[in-house]
Symmetry: C2
Subunit: 414 residues, 2 copies
């Protein structure tokens, strides 16, 4: 490399997204980049010329280790969709003016589906206008729903957090009830894809029953059948633990959380904000079956739980960050780095690059045959897939009893 | 000791309650107890003659280590209040018949306020009837609200979990918003005592802003002043993180969660079930200030988070379990083991025994001068108190990427 690199983070934060940032910085420096800039709050911040020179912040190897252990986007994130090129050339002219001023050779964007849409549009515009800046995407999402990659960095750590927390919830639930019935419903993230909720199966083992029922959004949810299943389970056990995706919906496409007349929010990408699914089902089951219920939302904790990060995940996140810079340096643009699994056990996985046009705005769902026929559990194939991704730990650097993070003061309004 | 010991667990589970069980087993064996029985689901299970010989289950040192790392009550818990002695002698006759049949010399009950009420009544009945069985309580509650003890086992691990999780939530919150305002309200357990919510201050450090506001139930909550504070903070920062106790209430004693017309539940001790406080305040703030909000309940996770247990807490829990057996063996009855702090730094703490009549049904609140004058934060004195209790870790024994627990099959109805 002879010019500079700029890197941004976008979309929902994860426990691994900063490890990809560390990988980008390291490889860019190794390959001769003069400067590595970080855009603050992604492409939206860049448009306001909000960026930093990362060498002012990540100064030594300890900083890199702390960065790998710090959850959420160190550079700040955004949810922002670029306009179509033909509808708003001005936006693109402005972005490229800034990139040219900074002598950018490669732009790396760490994110999910919507972020890959940004890479697609920027690389298209570069080709249209003859710019030689390269644009490469680095996959990141706890949702694990990106096409053409075996899995996405961030997913493994979230899966490990979910498996561990659901196991702890099960121990808590089973000790509480004596004779009477207690139904615990755990709500896990996942709008259309059940990868995270399926990971609750990891609680199951020689030392734990695992969840009793697991419902993913890939299969239509039948509330009457659900009630019958819970009723049957309560006949033989005093505690029932059920894991559900926030996005489960009925056959006619209605989200379960909408059945309860909750207020409806939409985000910048026009996605409905889903919440309250477990609470709704708890009220329903309590009223129908007369048993005690409790709803637990894993909420933000499941994506920010760096203290329980998977070593495989953190290392792969670092690896794809490096691979993105390498691809750009070798002339690739409009591409995303993908993870290619060579074997499950022993686990082996490498990287490739794929055309981002085939990835952006697509969604990879859990295969139907990884879910049981009746849609109430996941199969062995799912376990074989997810198990390698949660292996190993990244010990938090504990200071005075609490994990240490790396800190970029952001309290004042940007 | 020449007879047998029986031990039970009661009330809400914690990450440390099984470590106390391990301490009871070890010291009882060391002091010559022939058998150590475990009552299943506390005094309620005992009344149905539900008990096990613990030597059939905890067989070696590895089992003990796993027990210390397993959250929730290994023996099962209950919420059950014994009747007044003069109102129902039959219940006591039955319990003592079972204890005599099992040749019990000492009964150790690990629990909180309500459990100490059980120790009080059983020891009173023994004195009334000339029984020489001794009854000693072993403190346990994440709420940290027991009188006459510096703190309670279980609190330190919950505090460590809360400090760590709130710090991760803050990192997540601060990266999300660019320009716009986001208010995150974290709901933490604590009906009348704010010990757990105060522990959110542990998120604060050189590398983290800490929560912006902390509201404990010890100070009346003024919703109008709350709104003004949040509005003011949003003028200078894009993200505001607030930690509140589930039990915060207005000057006239009304719980904040009741302001929202939620359904009301009461438990066996006639305690109102509080939930939805953060959700209510989020709706209120969103409507009043027009900003984005999100409510996060730490829920059961905060008491079951063994993977983040404090070493000081787990060791002290083990210690008080042993001290309870020792006290009973030395002839004490109607007592509870207490923790006495000798110094903060270096932290030194020992055990004593106190009359359970002075403890049962009392509640220790956070001292008013450990809360700021305006009631929106905790002071240095609080930090000095809590900091030693979260020190050190108990590494989970990881098997295939997930912490291993010790398992007593309980799936089928008891």
């Amino acid at each position: 490399m002879t010019g500079n690199v700029i890197v941004g983070q976008s979309g929902g934060p994860t426990a691994a997204i900063n490890s990809s940032l560390a990988g980008v910085i390291r490889t860019a420096k190794d390959r001769g980049a003069k400067k590595v800039f970080g855009m603050l709050h992604g492409i939206k911040g860049l448009m306001d010329e909000q960026y930093i020179d990362l060498s002012d912040y990540i100064k030594n190897d300890l900083d890199v280790e702390l960065l790998k252990r710090t959850p959420a986007a160190y550079l700040g994130s955004c949810r922002f969709k670029l306009p179509e090129i033909h509808e708003d050339m001005k936006t693109y002219e402005k972005i490229f003016e800034i990139l040219n001023k900074l002598e950018i050779e490669a732009l790396i964007y760490i994110g999910g589906n919507d972020s890959m849409d940004t890479i697609k549009k920027l690389s298209d515009y570069a080709i249209l206008t003859g710019s030689d800046i390269r644009f490469v995407g680095c996959p990141k999402t706890i949702d694990n729903d990106l096409a053409l990659t075996d899995h996405t960095p961030g997913y493994g750590s979230a899966a490990k957090y979910i498996g561990t927390s659901v196991k702890e919830i099960i121990r808590d639930s089973y000790c509480l009830e004596y004779g009477k019935g207690l139904v615990t419903i755990v709500e896990i993230m996942g709008r259309n894809a059940g990868w995270l909720t399926g990971a609750s199966i990891l609680a199951k083992g020689e030392d734990c029953e695992g969840p009793d029922l697991i419902y993913l959004p890939e299969v239509a949810f039948d509330i009457e059948k659900f009630k019958q299943r819970v009723e049957k389970l309560l006949k033989t056990q005093s505690s029932v633990v059920i894991c559900i995706s926030e996005g489960i919906h009925t056959k006619d496409g209605k989200y379960v959380c909408e059945l309860g007349n909750n207020v409806e929010f939409v985000d910048a990408f026009n996605h409905k904000q889903l919440t309250g699914t477990a609470a709704y089902l708890c009220n329903y089951i309590g009223a129908e079956l007369g048993c005690k219920t409790r709803a637990i939302e894993l909420s933000t904790l499941q994506r920010a739980g760096s203290h329980l990060a998977s070593r495989v995940d953190i290392l792969e996140a670092y690896q794809v960050g490096g691979a993105a810079v390498l691809a750009a340096d070798e002339g690739d643009t409009g591409k995303m780095v993908t993870l290619i699994r060579h074997s499950d056990d022993p686990y082996q996985c490498g990287t490739e690059v794929k055309d981002v046009h085939k990835i952006a705005n697509d969604e990879k769902l859990v295969p139907r045959n990884w879910i049981t026929h009746d849609g109430t559990y996941v199969t062995e194939a799912f376990i074989t897939y997810v198990r390698p991704l949660i292996q190993g730990d990244v010990s938090p650097i504990m200071v005075d009893g609490i994990p240490r993070h790396i800190y970029r003061p952001t309290k004042k309004s940007n």
